[in-house]
Symmetry: none
Subunit: 209 residues, 4 copies
DNA sequence: GATGAATGAGTATTCATTCAT
DNA sequence: TATGAATGAATACTCATTCAT
């Protein structure tokens, strides 16, 4: 291992350290109430150091989204690689993957919607934005692939696979967001899992020919 | 018309004038980037005047959400009052209502998620919060009522009506939010309508016994 | 009574109504925290009306000081007019007068120190300032007159009467202010009267030859 | 000198720098008219820096009062430590101490009355308030000790030492405040010293049995 | 690389005062 | 006279970002 490589590795470790702290702080306070000072303290670093690893606050935040997208893509591609499964089995696996993604970071789903703000986008480096776009596209593409198979083999109803993928993802994130926000109205906790079950069940039934 | 009544009417007109301006500004810039100064300018009023009609920025923002909830409730209750329609027809009408709600204010769905921030709630008057909670509850209840009829008459699958209502609403808001945010990836506009169609279609199919 | 005179009388009544309200509000909140809106509400008038009777907030405030000065002057001159009393009896009466002045408005003593701010003076009409100056001078002069008699008749120690008058007044307002502010340290109430007694007692003893 | 210690020293220097500037600005404009911007400019620092050293405007202001209380306590305790002096000599020394306190900061006496506002107290950290209370109590206690000795040895009249201490302090601050405010009426400067002399002289005479 | 003190632009909110009715 | 809605200047405080050490 060259000295160059060791440095690179060390640098990546620091980035991770900061991101872990940032995730915790953003989760607790939300993007706007969380300060760089908070995150620095959580990471046991100084505010200045954060800027050695991330261009600015927005980019640090976006990096967290990138992380879940990476996780999502791995899980979804894994589903697609199940050679012996048919579309229906894959759809089941996909649902399981979604549960895992939610467990991976229940709050970052909310965060991902932060990216839509045009004001936010202005502060992201084109490079990072490209990466996010790419991962989104790939993940959605991979999900769409499952539906494509189902549609082509005549098992699923005849809709455009991309629209199906979008619907599937929207259902998932919609339930998560809606029930998270419904704490205003209601306060039961396990209810999220139940509603996801109901949602995915209906989706699967509605999808079959 | 008494002088009292005229004043009341004038006052309401001002509130609306401000809300229209606020909606425009918040839509363009998002809650945090929008300044009260911006809104005042848009409304052709002075900043101080805004505070004669709304306690603070958060409450002005929340009032916008209240507005769509009011519209939503009216539309949904109207659906429930269709005496000659069975659950399936009502579900179709409900879908139409959702389209209208979206047309009424495409961005306010996003705004409604702002309400979940505990920091936000602190600055809302209990009165306004109560109203929002009540309207949410009523609307959801009214939607659930449709599903309840369907389940009881054995037309819909046997799930808890409230969970069905939540799923339905989550699907709707999920699609809206997701496709709004997907401008990062894609930029076609009519695609939203199409995806909503796909989503509702699958939902209806999956719901039937 | 002419119509002119009746109007004048009515106007004066309004001024008094406002000043009574202002005194109450300023006493509770202090000059800076009290708003013209507060005072208007207390007076059951609209904010605009206040400005028909007082040039601005500072002037309304100063008018209250004027009021106590008027009361003070009357009481002190009355003491001086006691034809049969010698300086010692008059000093006793003066002490009684001070107690009355304190009862008349315990908090306005504090307020009178507000007048010293040069920023405040800028906003007062020269006319009002002149009146205040005049009353202060007259009251102090009248107090000094008592001491002058005592000094000249050889009953009091040989100091400049004006300095004695200033010392007397300073002792009085010092005790009031200090014990008012001492609520930080201590909290007994009757203690003010006691300390005033001690102070005046020492003063009288020290004054005698 | 360790690096830790040097930093501490540097930090204290900054606090002093700010307090010196604040004293100047508050003296000229009074608490309310003085802006943090003014003080920052006077200190040749940015507004934000002020908040690194003082929690808020009120606390910066109160810190000035703390300073004179510290000075007062040292001077008064020093008087009490004069082993060879009797109560009368100590009272003379106390009077000298008061002159010094006045010279130390002629305007801060006024400032100390600002502390009485309950609105002010709300914004002070409990810690700072405790310190102020403690110093006040100690100083007054130390002054009372002098009078106690005099009363017990039968040299002073038989009054409660605490009441005597309060009267003494009230006389002092009353004269300072009154003559400061009398600039409205009069404008001679040396007159303050003279009146203090008269006041203390009468007080000492009245105190003796 | 790491620090953390300093920066200073940015903003919600208040409130004395005005003026059309 | 009286009103009270509207004004808009004024300001404490925050916090992302920088840079000398």
């Amino acid at each position: 291992m060259g000295i160059q490589e060791r440095k690179e590795r060390e640098k990546e470790r620091r980035r991770q350290q900061i991101m872990v702290a940032a995730k915790r702080v953003f989760s607790n306070k939300g993007f706007n109430k969380a300060t760089m000072e908070d995150i620095a303290q959580e990471a046991e670093l100084s505010p200045g150091t954060l800027y050695l690893y991330f261009k600015n606050k927005e980019e640090l935040y976006a990096s967290l989204s990138l992380r879940i997208l990476q996780y999502l893509l791995i899980r979804v591609e894994h589903v697609n690689e199940e050679k012996d499964s048919g579309p229906e089995e894959k759809l089941k696996s996909l649902v399981d993957a979604m549960y895992d993604v939610y467990e991976f970071d229940p709050l970052i789903i909310i965060n991902m919607f932060h990216l839509q703000s045009s004001e936010t986008l202005k502060n992201l480096s084109p490079q990072l934005m490209e990466e996010i776009k790419l991962l989104s596209r790939k993940s959605l593409g991979s999900i769409a692939q499952i539906f494509k198979e189902g549609v082509e083999t005549g098992i699923f109803i005849d809709k455009h696979p991309v629209a199906l993928a979008d619907t599937f993802w929207a259902l998932f994130s919609g339930v998560v967001l809606w029930l998270t926000s419904k704490k205003i109205i209601d306060e039961r906790k396990d209810y999220l899992k139940q509603t996801l079950d109901v949602g995915f069940d209906i989706f699967r039934r509605g999808l079959k020919k």
